[in-house]
């Protein structure tokens, strides 16, 4: 298994290199937007533009620019943002905890509710409860998450005169109560769509497993309902659930961007959103590289988890 993981990780530089090249040259296509023009105002002279271009290193040939960037990245330097001229890595690290917490809580809620209700729906198949959950799942997948988050701001303020806190990230280690009051309600709502999907997948996986002979055997030998459903049933239904959780975590970054926008939280989502709108090349290059690393790592973890859950799966 160690060998397998090593072999998979050996692809990492290849993938990282590939996405970096694609991004770098897409951003500098002749018909792509020019950040210097974007940063210019009415009062910017041609000399100013030339100077700015030199300062940002955009005056050199594209291949030379790429060489310089690659050389810096290999040494752990991801460059400076075009706008604020701050090191990209510092800007990212400063905003990381807020986004991490949003994604961590949302994934937690999604798994908790999705798996629990999915199992219940499968055990109580074709009952009122099952139908209710399935209807909820259809609606949960159709309502945009930003609509739910806006309702969280709007409705409590009308009904109970309660205003949900906006902005102002506090570390959970400094003030846990304020931190959770800021993050728990929105992440719960952000988890609605994911829970709906997770529920559908869990339900169908569980229905498949519960038909198996060993479940009948487990029931016949008098095991408790919990042991049959959770220990014998759920464990064997986990593989599609874990796969979905991995994919969902990647997709959840979109949700984090939206949540940060609605609640004015200065996290990674806001940072990347603003950088995209302002054509900040070094930030985008960092983002793509970073996403590639996260995705490759995450997929590896998901694959290795399969072997932990199911001893029949072996990697050599």
């Amino acid at each position: 298994m160690r060998q397998y993981a090593m072999r998979r990780l050996a692809y990492l530089p290849l993938i990282a290199g590939l996405v970096s090249v694609i991004t770098f040259f897409t951003l500098r296509l002749p018909w792509a937007g020019d950040p210097v023009t974007y940063m210019s105002t009415q009062n910017t002279t041609v000399e100013d533009q030339e100077r700015l271009r030199r300062e940002l290193g955009l005056d050199k040939p594209v291949l030379v620019q790429f060489g310089i960037w690659l050389g810096d990245v290999v040494q752990g330097d991801f460059g400076e943002t075009f706008r604020g001229r701050q090191p990209v890595l510092d800007e990212v690290l400063r905003r990381f905890p807020a986004t991490f917490e949003i994604m961590f809580l949302s994934l937690g809620f999604t798994t908790l509710f999705g798996v629990t209700f999915g199992v219940i729906a499968a055990v109580r198949q074709n009952t009122f409860f099952d139908y209710g959950l399935r209807v909820f799942a259809v609606f949960g997948q159709s309502v945009p998450d930003f609509f739910l988050l806006i309702l969280l701001i709007v409705l409590p303020s009308i009904w109970w005169n309660y205003t949900h806190p906006i902005g102002g990230h506090v570390s959970i280690f400094e003030d846990p109560v304020r931190n959770l009051r800021l993050y728990v309600p929105p992440t719960l709502l952000l988890a609605v769509g994911g829970s709906a999907l997770m529920m559908r997948v869990t339900r169908s996986a569980m229905l498949e497993v519960l038909r198996q002979d060993y479940i009948r055997t487990a029931r016949a030998k008098g095991l408790s309902a919990y042991a049959v459903v959770v220990r014998h049933g759920l464990r064997n239904a986990l593989i599609p659930i874990i796969t979905l959780a991995g994919n969902y975590l990647v997709a959840l970054f979109f949700g984090a961007v939206i949540l940060e926008q609605v609640f004015s939280i200065n996290g990674l989502g806001q940072f990347f959103l603003i950088s995209a709108a302002q054509r900040d090349f070094p930030v985008m290059q960092f983002l793509v590289l970073y996403s590639a690393l996260v995705v490759v790592g995450l997929n590896l973890i998901v694959d290795l988890t399969y072997a932990l859950i199911d001893p029949r799966i072996k990697y050599t």
Binding site: A32, S142, P144
Partner: protein, 298 residues
């Protein structure tokens, strides 16, 4: 001789195949939610095409009524902070959502399907290349991709269509790949090859028409997520131009601030519009998938 003509005479007791209308009616009764979805999507298309003509006010007209008025007979959904009629804006907002989601789904769906069919029919290294790229693609977060395209090409309808289309590109390729593999090994393809039809002819005349209905199913199942993506990008302010009547834009920025002060109608009606259309698209997609290919159900 007479015995032959007798044998060719149609049997009288064979029940006639029910007419098209009857069969459609039966199908509709079996899939009531699909009919609901179809009605919603038809309504969405009608509003998208004729919306501005149907709207009681010009959606961009300032002071169409008093500022921030609640729902009333003159303004069924009320007015926003600029005095624009929200009912008219919701109707007009269907257009940009329709243009972007349909073009993105059509472009992404047809190219993706073609790649899937090629992958399934020709197999070998081509199959490997397309499927591995598809997997890598699916693993990459869509929002990162949107961000990158917007950084490179700036905001605008074309960038959004391109971004959503490419995002949906490989979604269906795997399903079409397996459907094509089944067709390519079927008897009639073998027969065609036996009488000397060229590979190109078999591919375009026999295989493609037989897997084409699946393409429609796939497009309809991705329509909902395309509409969601469009509205989310507009909401984030990196979608269509500001000022365009768009459901996502109408729920962002100052409209949220206003809604917090108690003017809920400003954001709630566009939100309901998006949710309803996405719900319709999802229900229609599910029904079409069940009718055409129950194997796709997960």
């Amino acid at each position: 001789m007479s015995s032959v003509s007798e044998a060719l005479r149609p049997l009288e007791y064979v029940p006639r195949r029910p007419s098209r209308v009857v069969r459609l009616g039966r199908l509709a009764r079996q899939h009531p939610t699909g009919v609901f979805g179809l009605l919603v999507i038809v309504g969405f298309v009608v509003l998208g095409v004729f919306g501005p003509a149907l709207a009681p006010y010009d959606p961009r007209e300032l002071r169409a009524g008093p500022v921030l008025q609640g729902p009333s007979l003159a303004h069924p959904f009320g007015t926003n902070a600029l005095g624009q009629d929200i009912f008219s804006r919701v109707i007009a907002g269907a257009r940009i959502s329709l243009i972007i989601s349909f073009s993105a789904v059509f472009i992404g769906g047809s190219i993706g399907s073609f790649l899937g069919i090629v992958s399934g029919y020709f197999g070998r290294w081509l199959d490997y290349l397309i499927q591995r790229s598809g997997e890598a693609w699916a693993a990459f977060p869509s929002i990162v991709f949107y961000f990158m395209l917007i950084t490179a090409f700036g905001q605008g309808v074309k960038t959004i269509i391109l971004a959503i289309a490419i995002g949906a590109l490989f979604g269906g390729s795997r399903v079409l790949r397996s459907a094509t593999m089944v067709e390519a090994r079927s008897g009639y393809v073998e027969a065609a090859r036996a009488i000397g039809a060229s590979e190109v002819r078999i591919f375009f005349r026999h295989v493609i028409p037989n897997v084409l209905p699946l393409t429609v199913v796939l497009m309809s199942t991705t329509l909902g997520s395309a509409i969601l993506a469009e509205s989310a990008l507009a909401f984030l302010g990196i979608g269509v131009e500001p000022g365009t009547p768009s459901w996502g834009i109408d729920m962002s920025g100052e409209n949220i601030t206003v809604a917090r002060l108690g003017y809920w109608h400003v954001v709630v009606f566009p939100g309901i519009a998006i949710s309803l259309v996405v719900l319709g698209a999802n229900l229609l997609g599910d029904a079409l998938r069940d009718i055409w290919d129950p194997r796709l159900r997960h």
